[in-house]
Amino acid sequence: MDFFELTTDPIDITGVARRVVPPECGATVTLDGYVRKFTKGRETLHLFYEAYEPMALKEMQKLIDQAKRDFEISNVGIVHRLGKLEIGETSVVISVASPHRRAAFAACEWLIKELKRTVPIWKKEVYADGEVWVEGESEPPVVTRCNAEL
């Protein structure tokens, strides 16, 4: 079965991977994304994640639906953590089960790339000398660009 969740609790990575496995599959690719200590040379103390939760869940569902149309995969599980995360803690897990590994690797890569572009979740980097909300690095959905000139 597919699933997508937001949680403030630590994520059980193996549990996510196991939940997506159906009998017809032969490979599960799991991404474990976790908190990095250094970003562009600056030391992070911890991260804080916030989401527009109902919309984030809808967007996660859309990503899964699209991935299942575009790749030969069986099941997808996505769990994203919210709240305060310490260095090394897992922030996101994406598991993709498929009959053969290639499609699972490709779908997992596509899913994390799209999640970072479209799902309304934001991270705040907290440093020893300040904090900053990170703004997306990749091109956001085109229809939503908004640079109003007054």
Binding site: G33, Y49, E50, A51, Y52, P54, M55, A56, K58, H80, S91, V92, I112, L115, K116, R117, T118, V119, P120, I121, W122, K123, K124, W133, V134, E135, G136, E137, P140, P141, V143, T144, R145, C146, N147, A148, L150
Partner: protein
């Protein structure tokens, strides 16, 4: 008619609020309301902002209806 405006992350910090209820005239579009927000909150100027109406990304000429929820936020950074 009334529209609820939601702010998240950086925009919530900039505005100093997470939710504002505003009264607008009929036939206002998302774009119209965002222009109004830029006028009311100059601190948003020069920011790249995304928006959603009722939890969906929509074109900016989407007309708003009474009770709609317009969310304003900076490019997302999950993962």
């Amino acid at each position: 008619m009334k529209v609820n405006i939601l702010f998240f992350g950086a925009t919530a910090d900039l505005i100093g609020s997470r939710r504002v209820e505003t009264t607008v005239k009929e036939s206002v579009s998302a774009r119209d309301l965002i222009d109004q927000l830029h006028a009311d909150y100059p601190i948003l100027k020069d920011r790249t902002l995304l928006f959603a109406v009722n939890e969906e990304y929509v074109p900016e000429n989407t007309p708003l209806n009474n009770g709609d929820e317009l969310a304003i936020f900076t490019p997302v950074s999950g993962g």
